[in-house]
Subunit: 146 residues, 2 copies
């Protein structure tokens, strides 16, 4: 039998808070991380500030977390600076106040200019969202034309 601790401040074993280099990450966080040989996972606890008017986890928070998790998978490839150009998210089940939401992602394909990443988001064993993202390596020309 698995016991799930939904204490609003409980952090499961092995997780440490990440240092948010993005001010937006600090605003919506804290986000936690657990990295070992088998797995790299990020997670957060659904607190009241993450909820919608019905008391469920807000879709915007889950999409923001997906962007953080997929971007980290892209960073792990060592390709350097990239920008999100497309994100697709499928919401499968609601998140609830107190839930510990875990996200795992990997890069399935990397070309000269594009990286394709996919992620799964779970509460316990229950999948609540999948996400896929396309990231671009900015060319010198792209950067100049900004």
């Amino acid at each position: 039998m698995t016991t799930v601790n939904t204490n609003i401040n409980f952090v499961p074993d092995g997780y440490k808070p990440i240092v948010h280099s993005a001010p937006y990450g600090a605003l919506i966080g804290p986000v936690y991380e657990r990295v070992d040989e088998e797995d790299s996972v990020r997670a957060f606890r659904v607190k009241k500030q993450h909820t919608n008017s019905l008391g469920y986890l807000h879709g915007g928070m889950l999409m923001s977390f997906a962007d953080i998790v997929l971007a980290q998978a892209v960073i792990r490839t060592g390709r350097g600076l990239t920008a999100t150009v497309r994100m697709v998210t499928e919401f499968m089940a609601p998140g609830r106040l107190g839930d510990w939401v875990e996200g795992r992602a990997s890069v399935s394909k990397s070309t000269g200019t594009l990286l394709f990443a996919e992620g799964q988001f779970q509460v316990g064993a229950s999948l609540i969202m999948i996400a896929s993202g396309v990231f671009v390596v900015p060319s010198d020309r792209n950067i100049k034309s900004e």
Copy 2:
């Protein structure tokens, strides 16, 4: 010649802050709204807390704003309670600190159980993102099975 005021606290004429019924909206807001006969638009000013580690508007913030704008278009149809089941976002240009980001959305199709909404997000005349979302009207059975 159009003059753009990027004063971090400047709110253009006709916009009023919305009352955030979602705690998450209050966390990432304030979001503003301007509604008149021709147009319904929501907007926010990119402040430091909305930026990524490079100083640009964080993709998560723009996706959160898209969810708020598209959901509002769905609410305007009067169909009552719905939930986001899919969101697709295409990032076309970076948002910058001080930008006033406007979002407009409409529902293009409504069936017995699903609503399809599309939105455009601009800074001045420049399109920075488009989004499309699918929303579901929960059935009694869906609500019970949660």
